[in-house]
Amino acid sequence: MSRLIAILTREGRWFWPVLFAATWLVSTYGRDAARALDARWLVKYPAAWRLPLKGEISTAMDWLVEEANFGLFTFRELTRGISWLIEIPYDFARSALIEGFERGQGSNAVEIAPSLSWIAVIVAVVAMGHYARNWRLAALVGGCFAYLVIFGQWDSAMVTLASVLIAVPIGAAGGLLLGIAAYRWPLFDRILLPVLDLMQTVPVFAYLVPILFLFGFNAVAALVATIIYAMPPMIRMTTLALRTVPDEIREFGVMTGCSRRQLIWKVLVPSAAPGLMVGVNQVIMLTLNMVIIASMIGAGGLGYDVLTSLRRLDIGTALEAGIAIVVMAIALDRLSQAFAERARTEMHDPALSAGWIRRHRWLSTVVAVAAATTLAGLLVPAVQTYPEPMMITTGPFWSDLVRYINVNFFDQFEAFKTFLLWYFLLPVKRFLGGVPWTWGIGVMTLVGWRFGGWRLALLTGGLSLFIAVNGLWPKAMITVYLCGVSVVIASAIGIPLGVLSASNERANRIVGAFIDTLQTLPSFVYLIPVVMLFRVGDFAAMIAVVLYALAPAVRYAAHGVRNIDPQMIEAGIVSGCTRWQLLRRIKLPLAMPEILLGLNQTIMLALSMLVITALVGTRGLGQEVYIALTKADSGRGIIAGLSVAFIAIIADRILSASARHARARLGLE
């Protein structure tokens, strides 16, 4: 057997077909064979062999919450202290933006100062837009916030904005510090990397329960969860940006006699600012991604509006609240990018010599408007709070549209769905569902070994073994099936779109706007109409996953094609390639490393979406995490969450290794 494997792996061409054929045979006949051999453990992991990890994690969690003690204070007092520290600025932001400053608690509270009026907030963001770039940006940002007011989303939007204002600086600053630490101490970097992988791939639902226990039942717990979820890209970007600072600059710093601290803070961090701002941008986006989940545990705001309207099946209202999140994401995204650019091209203002008010035109305008509207608001309430009769809603239109499509086109959708289900989804499900755990682990080890030697083999084999010993193998296979099918379809749609938008500027803009919206619009908003059109089940879930995971497939493909050396393409044209040959023989192969990275990201997003699709009834690990959440079972949730993360890590490692292979083969490295 081992000789056979050796021959197979040396003969590269035969590796994949043989492996696939063997797996197919095992998947189809394995069950009967095991029964014939009277060795059912081969296909079904015996319950008696399961590790009692679930229970142990739950017990450890209880201990941490109830008993852990550092001598002077308990662990819970520590986390509650942190929670208190976060709560102070958060309450301030909420009071300033929407609730007004109050003294006293609960319904006894007496308002001592009103919040900023809607006019003042809009003037402030317009001022920031103009300060950061120009009037065009100011108009865009102002328009975004005007949408919030006119469509009656203001109150909730300000609650959401308050949590963004707190979560983003903490996430960004924390990420910066950890990133710098990882840059300075390679050992720390090596410890941090797997932790980052887990932070990004363990579904948030899995650690919500422990966070609630530790940080108390309030909006702060939601903020903590948001920060954990949104921080990793900042850490990664920081280390990356610091590493890519040109050596000349670093040496220059050393030559001028900087201390280590000065070198980092005065030389490296400022030079890495553009990269750092990309990280901040990511933190903002991920924070807004979390608003729905955060609202489930008490953050309120726009996410809560989406949830309650969907429970009433008020699709229009849910969509408007969802769009409000998108609009806010757009405004914050453009603003932060403009600030990043401004930081790069800091220029000398000719007005510098003028008086304070002229130098701080915008600041003084905002302060004046805030003061004036606050005073005027005492007399005319409309200045303080946008009057209800002037709000508009398109809610009924959307509900009617869904009804129209539903009544008139359901049969066509049904036919399409049945076709895809019979000829694609179900065969894949049967194939993967039939793979026994013993064979599956073997295959994972073999694939790992082929791409990355024994190290990777050990990792992939070990991680899949973890899933099996916790008795989650069948559920993991359902997850792999749903995720795999969605990734295939997302790539089939996304990669051509990416290639198209790389060669056509107009297509690029349209496609870009489309995928940006899909990514920031909370998936729950389109999940419910999808259920109405396609019924509860795998198909509806797959559509939702595809919509969400499309973006990286498009972006990376476009990036890859754009980055091809123009000489290569010219060489192709000169040697008489047709357009099709140019694409197939030159563009696609050369863009392959990027496309593989995009595939990697698509898989990550698809996996993160699976927990959400459990809300429309998919089975698998996502459902396991969700059940654990509703039963407040920390151990079960964490184990299932880790299993999801491990699938993601296996996919990531194998794909990165193969991207490296591809790059080496093309001579790009």
Partner: protein
């Protein structure tokens, strides 16, 4: 938005009470009592009515959004104090687990009964005349089939976390149906809405009090009546070999609270214990909010006005 205006409304009421100078006398502590809000209208109504009543009695109240099951973490530690709706049918396990620790107490029934059962829209009676008797379902299973389940009928059950033993019921009663589980309440009713718009066949889990039975015209399937023996003892009921050969139990909706509530706010504890409201009252209020589009605050205020004698007796010393 709703929450903000509610707090303001509540504050206004308390201020009015304070000005009268009598109502505040009843409160033992001015620390806020925290009531949890979930994401369905019935619960928001129950909680807001309770909050209003406690406000009239001079208590300081605060509403906190929390997840239905995850809130027990907060109730145990005293971060949260009162949860007004814990359904026998969906929250029993979590509630038992929490009360067993001694940190959470059950404050008795709200007076509302949760009903949950298989349900079909009235137009299905034309294609399946034997309804609502469950035996008729087998004769027209194919009417309820979809390509994935054919020739069996398709029954859309609640999320797995709701329990309900539908898979067992189908087996015990030998029904030609396949159970498909929706992931959430929203998904469940999205399918109903979709089918109802097209007058298409649908058979699913519906519960009350909820807006759906008020909005859509339909009926519950009549199974052999529930009994405890039917669930526990295989030999009882129609099928001598299997349990669950009957309909679902109807259970009360409970009120639960942090165990320290009684010590800190004895008056509020008594008032919450006394709180009682019927299914019909709640059904009408939920319909007013979700279907007629009335503001939640108005509906609560109306209830408070028409039932003054009732709630006054709950807060009477």
């Amino acid at each position: 938005m709703k929450r903000g205006s509610l707090i303001i409304a509540a504050a206004a009421l308390v201020c009015a009470g304070g000005a009268a100078g009598t109502a505040n006398a009843g409160a033992e502590s001015q620390d806020p009592i925290k009531l949890t809000l979930h994401d369905w209208t019935g619960q928001l109504l129950t909680t807001n009515i309770m909050g209003e009543i406690l406000g009239k009695a001079g208590y300081n109240i605060e509403y906190v959004q929390a997840d239905y099951i995850a809130q027990f973490a907060g109730l145990k530690t005293g971060d949260l104090h009162v949860a007004m709706e814990m359904w026998e049918t969906t929250g029993r396990d979590a509630m038992d687990e929490a009360t067993a620790t001694g940190k959470v107490v059950n404050l008795g029934e709200t007076g509302m009964q949760a009903i949950e059962e298989w349900w079909y829209p009235s137009y299905m009676k034309e294609v399946c005349p034997g309804l609502p008797d469950w035996r008729a379902l087998n004769d027209c299973a194919e009417e309820f089939a979809t390509p994935e389940t054919a020739p069996k009928g398709r029954y859309l059950g609640g999320p797995v976390t709701w329990g309900g033993f539908d898979d067992e019921r189908v087996e015990a009663l030998e029904m030609d149906f396949e159970v498909v589980h929706a992931g959430t309440d929203a998904a469940l009713f999205a399918e109903l809405e979709s089918a109802y718009q097209r007058k298409a066949p649908v058979l699913l889990w519906v519960y009350a009090p909820h807006w759906a039975p008020a909005k859509f015209d339909g009926e519950w399937v009549e199974f052999p009546p529930y009994s405890a023996e039917c669930y526990n003892d295989p030999s009882a009921g129609i099928n001598p070999d299997l349990a669950y050969d009957c309909g679902k139990p109807r259970g009360p909706i409970w009120k639960v609270a942090w165990a320290g509530l009684e010590g800190k706010w004895p008056g509020a504890y008594a008032a919450i214990k006394a709180f009682n409201i019927s299914n019909d009252e709640m059904g009408a209020m939920v319909a007013a909010v979700d279907l007629e589009g009335s503001a939640l605050d108005d509906v609560v205020a109306e209830w408070m006005a028409t039932n003054e004698a009732r709630w006054q007796s709950w807060i009477a010393p």
